[in-house]
Amino acid sequence: MASARKIKIGMLTAFVVLALVWAVSGTFSSISSGTMVGELDQSAPQAAASADDFVGSETCKACHEDQFKGFAGTKHAKLAEVKSWKDKAQGCESCHGSGKLHVEGGGDKSKIISFKGKNSKEISETCLSCHAGKESHNNFRRGEHWRNDVGCTDCHTAHGTVFKDQMPGSMTEIGETNRQNPGVATTAMLKRSEPQLCMSCHTETKSQFSKPFHHKVLEGAMTCTSCHNAHGGFESKQTKLSVGADSACIKCHGDKQGPFTFEHAPLKTEGCASCHVPHGSANPKMLTRSSVRQLCMECHSNLNDAEGGAPQAPHNQTQTRYLGCTICHAKVHGSNASKYYFR
């Protein structure tokens, strides 16, 4: 594959050139222009504010002690320690804007940016002014959540997670955010721990994860974001890609990655969900049908022979041994040694 090699060399060259340009352009120094994202004038709502207009979070604490207490433990608060953020608005004023007029006005609410009454997209734009730079967040403006007006603060809390009173929970399903699980939610400043948070809107998924065969999300072994990118992405259902451009399933089910000499076409072209229910099912192997032959024949009825065709007469469906297609066609995901997936 000469062309593939050229692409590889090209990518490598591009990488080296980029790295050099980075180094030459003073990467480690403070840069003040370019994108609007993440700059002081974007994060400070009053565009004309000068450095003297910022009063610092300690001043806010005098009246907003509860918010300050929660905020002080968050990653947002710690940005003050990061060298590259020294010349930017920090703390409360990074989102609420400069507070001098608000303080001088005795707490005049019209002199400070309040998010009460703002819609989800307006709030999200404020968050994206800093958070849009990372690959996982870049497509939020075109994602399912954005489209349906679900904003950042519908799931995250900028002021830090407030722990609820501890209550006992199930011994098999992981519980709600509390001191039993001090970091489950706090690592991403989520309002609640992840499965419960997602299921508070996607209520129907809990029933699927409670079926006899299911991915172990309720048990805590994996999370919704193991497979989905809540911030968008280019895939339908906001699923993640793994190992480059393979489906999220391949990350753990590596033996299905192939490539196989004889690859079952749906594996890569239609995706795993054409045969499996990814969240959970009562059917063995989480199949979309309870009977394997039924699942197979629903496709292998209207295909020509080169595509797999319909089962020939010897597969007499009155005989038990022909009812399970995968007994013979055992390597149904793909085979290196049999075009019929026998071995």
Partner: protein, 703 residues
């Protein structure tokens, strides 16, 4: 030892009573010994913080013993749940936070564990961060995977394996806008015995299969900002290895009762090595606060190489003795994939945005196989037959290309409503080419057999949705997608589909109501097109329809500080009706395939703290699928199936505070599974347990 037989366990009522009695006695003794010696009034939380080397520590660890008593089908129980009796680390968390917010080596470190010991699923997570310097996230998981179902592959595909896998990701300078580095590694190990089937001499044989595969992934990347663009570049590798084997221990007569084939020995090795690497580049920039641009390009190359050796002895379906039947197969395959995505959003004004997303995906797969067989046989009288030595070559080349473009607009009506509307176009082309060549046969019109398949299709979809806030506390979302979906291989013509989702969320101070309805209609109005199919003339209606409905609601209620109630109900209604061709007797006939799901799922969770030292939790979950009801077919070409079952799981737990640092827990969980399979797979499992939960540091005092 891997067990493939159906097991029934006796009730063991005496042992259960004894166990519960012991738990109660031990708990009361501990309570008496410790509780009355403690101060009933805890100090404020700040005074109780545990400090270790400048770090505030918050920690809980719960460990204990779970008992298990089982009636019914153990194989099904283990396939579903696989909880064993024994000691178990139920839950453990330890969080170190630098008191000043800034530590020497890390600012925060969280280690979480769940499910180690007698649980099928265990994980450990480590999240460590020093703000501005690095962030480290890792997750290691172990799943004891057991699968032995009599209603799948005649009970001849089973597994008793262990899958251990993990991810380790290190981000250097994570908050630096200008330059960040990412390093990552993942591993996966799967091993264990099982049963699998092989096909030989017009028969199928269940063979012991020892699964042994591993994969290791490595990732390195850089992100940062250059010329106003947020850029990211990641290079990744995966190395895959499969060293599974098949061995027959003893004689197998196979599944076919009408022929003479017997295997007296069988072994298969098929060492497979795979390698994948990928390059992922992404870029993002917002121009003049108006135009948001995101792009990514992924190039990946995946290869695999396999050598397989099969060795049979026994008798074939002509009653000949098979002294040696040896296959040697060598195969390799390569997939090259490149995909690119570009997303643009133009903010016309503060309320109106137009977005366009374009995606291109193409991969090519080429694979080839070389097979040689040496078959040495004697006839029933013992006379040697001529050596058979067939050889063949096969090759396949797949080419897949897909474009997707979505254009949409969203408009914000103040904070009370928003609307979006869009259109998506997809164009896809799939082609398969190759040949099958039997080298030991004469060249004919069908040897080599050339294979050429081309499918091309395009789809159109309309998208619309709205969010409405009738009142401040009430949000309603709905969205619709209507159009065509491409399933080139699954059912050749496009599916016409309509998906509708409606969600409502009503929030008060102490109660939250969620309601949602999801409807998915798929209609495949196909006609038969395969002229070689003798069953149907070309053009005969030959469609498929699938109707999927979810109705779901839940309520979360917190009437007072010490009481939490959560309850919900979901109904899933699925009806699928597909025309199929069914082989019956010596011919093939037109039939249908119908599948039904009528699944009701409900749950209630209640947590209360009636007195300061005692917390209680009770839960009831039920999953009842009524399936196809009374629908039944006596003819083999009319296939009607479902999976009616009843799965209930009540649970109770009491946490008794012995000291400010120690809780004693007792609990009980019951699983009752019933279905209508033959043979029966029903089981009832009793899982009482007791545990101690130990608290250190923050939060221990104000519990």
């Amino acid at each position: 030892m891997f067990d493939i037989s159906h097991k029934t366990t006796s009730t063991g009522r005496y042992r259960r009573i004894l166990f519960i009695w012991m738990m109660v006695v031990i708990g009361i003794a501990m309570f008496a010994a410790t509780a009355f010696g403690q101060s009933p009034t805890p100090k404020p939380a700040e005074e109780e913080d545990l400090m270790v080397g400048g770090y505030k520590v918050t920690s809980t660890t719960e460990f204990g013993y779970r008992y298990r008593s089982l009636d019914g089908n153990e194989n099904k129980y283990r396939s579903d749940l696989n909880y064993k009796k024994g000691f178990r680390l139920f839950d453990s968390n330890i969080l170190f936070e630098a008191d000043s917010g800034k530590g020497k080596y890390f600012d925060s470190l969280l280690i979480s564990n769940t499910g180690w010991g007698a649980d099928p699923t265990g994980f450990t997570r480590v999240n460590m961060e020093k703000t501005g310097i690095y962030k480290f996230n890792s997750s290691a998981r172990r799943v004891k995977y057991f699968n032995n179902l009599s209603n799948h592959a005649l009970g001849e595909h089973t597994n008793n394996s262990q899958h251990t896998f993990g991810d380790f990701d290190l981000s250097i300078l994570p908050q630096n806008e200008k330059l960040r580095f990412n390093l990552g590694a993942s591993f996966s190990r799967m091993s264990g015995p099982g049963l699998y089937t092989i096909r030989a001499y017009s028969d199928e044989f269940a063979i012991t299969n020892n699964v042994r595969n591993t994969s290791n992934d490595f990732r390195a990347g850089v992100e940062g900002k250059l010329l106003g663009f947020n850029l990211g570049l990641t290079q990744g590798f995966r190395f895959f290895k499969d060293r599974s084997d098949y061995v027959l221990n003893g004689i197998s007569v196979g599944n076919n009762p009408t022929n003479t084939s017997v295997l007296t020995s069988f072994s298969r090795i098929f060492p497979t090595d795979g390698r994948a690497y990928f390059t992922h580049f992404n870029a993002h920039r917002t121009f003049a606060k108006k135009l948001d641009f995101t792009g990514q390009f992924i190039y990946s190359e995946t290869k695999s190489k396999m050598g397989m050796v099969d060795l049979f002895t026994g008798r074939d379906n002509s009653n000949n003795f098979v002294d040696r039947d040896r296959f040697e197969i060598y195969a390799d395959a390569k997939r090259v994939q490149s995909r690119g995505d570009i997303g643009l959003t133009y903010m016309v004004n503060n309320s109106f945005r137009i977005s366009n997303t374009f995606s291109f995906d193409r991969f090519g797969l080429s694979g080839q196989e070389r097979l040689e067989e040496w078959l040495e046989r004697r006839n029933a009288a013992g006379t040697p037959l001529a050596l058979s030595n067939p050889r063949s070559l096969a090759s396949r080349i797949n080419d897949y290309r897909r474009f997707v473009n979505t254009i949409e607009g969203d408009y914000q009506f103040g904070s009370l409503a928003s609307l979006h509307i869009g259109y998506r176009f997809t164009q896809r082309k799939v082609s398969v080419a190759g040949y099958d060549h039997t080298l030991t046969s004469a060249t004919t019109a069908t040897n080599p057999l050339l294979i050429v398949v081309n499918e091309e299709n395009s789809t159109n979809t309309l998208i619309a949705g709205m969010k409405i806030k009738p009142i401040k506390r009430w949000v309603i979302f709905w969205d619709v997608e209507h159009g065509t979906a491409d399933n080139v291989f699954s059912r050749v013509e496009n599916y016409k589909f309509t998906n509708v989702r409606i969600r409502s969320r009503l929030t008060f101070n102490k109660v939250v109501f969620n309601v949602s309805a999801v409807s998915k209609d798929n209609d495949n109005p196909a006609t038969s097109y395969d002229g070689s199919n003798p069953v149907l003339p070309v053009g005969t209606p030959f469609g498929a329809t699938v109707k999927n409905r979810f109705y779901s609601g839940n309520v979360e209620w917190k009437p007072m500080d010490k009481v939490q109630v959560s309850s919900g109900y979901t109904y899933h209604h699925l009806t699928s009706d597909t025309a199929i061709i069914v082989p019956v007797a010596t011919g093939r006939v037109l039939g249908f395939s119908q599948y039904f799901m009528r699944d009701h799922y409900g749950f209630v969770d209640i947590s209360v703290k009636p007195v300061k030292r005692v917390s209680l939790y009770a839960s009831y979950r039920i999953n009842r699928d009524k399936g196809q009801g009374s629908r039944f077919s006596a003819l083999p070409q009319f296939i009607i199936t479902s999976y009616p079952m009843n799965y209930t799981s009540p649970e109770f737990r009491a946490a008794i505070r012995l000291t400010k640092n120690v809780d004693w827990n007792i609990g009980y969980q019951y699983y009752n599974y019933q279905d209508s399979q033959t043979p029966s797979q029903n089981y009832r499992a009793h899982l009482p347990y007791t545990s101690l939960k130990i608290y250190f540091g923050g939060g221990a005092a104000d519990r």
